[in-house]
Chain length 140, copies 2
Amino acid sequence: MLSKIEAMCLKKGIRFTGSRKIIAQIIIESNDHPDVDVVLQRANKINPKIGIATVYRTLKLFADNDIIAKHDFAGEEKSRYEDVNDDEHHDHLIDIKTGKVVEFYNEEIEHLKEKIAKDLGYNLVDHRLELYASPIKKDD
Amino acid sequence: MLSKIEAMCLKKGIRFTGSRKIIAQIIIESNDHPDVDVVLQRANKINPKIGIATVYRTLKLFADNDIIAKHDFAGEEKSRYEDVNDDEHHDHLIDIKTGKVVEFYNEEIEHLKEKIAKDLGYNLVDHRLELYASPIKKDD
DNA sequence: TTAACTGCAAAGACTTTGCCAAGTA
DNA sequence: TACTTGGCAAAGTCTTTGCAGTTAA
């Protein structure tokens, strides 16, 4: 079965090479929003010859084609990546203690975003909502 | 009369030098969220001897002390800065055509942000909400 | 086969830092 | 005067790119 990423490469006439297959698979299987170095690490477990430039190039290629999403969270130097499903949008809560990312979706906020833009005389094209938070401690 | 930034510096024992005074004034008077180069340009109109390193150092100093806010908007390479008033929070709508920044505040969203974090088991520490939008064209 | 891809190292863009002269309290 | 600042240029990060060998269709 064709992965979504492979299908899109085929469609756009982009070669689905060994490196790309590996990197695509890593993104699909990772749910921790890895950065370039982490992706490289995971890729090198499968093929140690893959270099950092290829990872950068491949992630950019996928991101430019909206197959994956690139995030630049506040306070972090490197970008992080995640798989995207066209039909499902979500925002992020970042645990400032650990860097862990929790995804969430809130219908009300989505509507409000649209409304606010409209009220200001704009058509909403994109948005970014990130919550930076620390876990509530429980002494149970 | 002491500017808010000068007062902050005094309070924190940070020297309020000529360069810092100029840069502080520029941030206070600018409402277009200028980046480092723009701040340098404006500073150099007053004192051509101020260098880019000083602007970077000063903006970082102010930002680290929460006297000004630093923003990294999506799709822009350089950071942009703005004055902050402790008691007044706002989010940003970025005009993707011109880079113009419109500030807005929405009570409902503020509450939702808090609630979402709580529901996920976190205490909200900070957040980032940015709307990227294009102006609604009117043929009037 | 042949145009596209990859690895390596070098180059870029933004930001920070070391050094020493200069300014502030 | 003592200690912090600031200008300049060099160094640091993350990311992109040129080149030549390699590979997928």
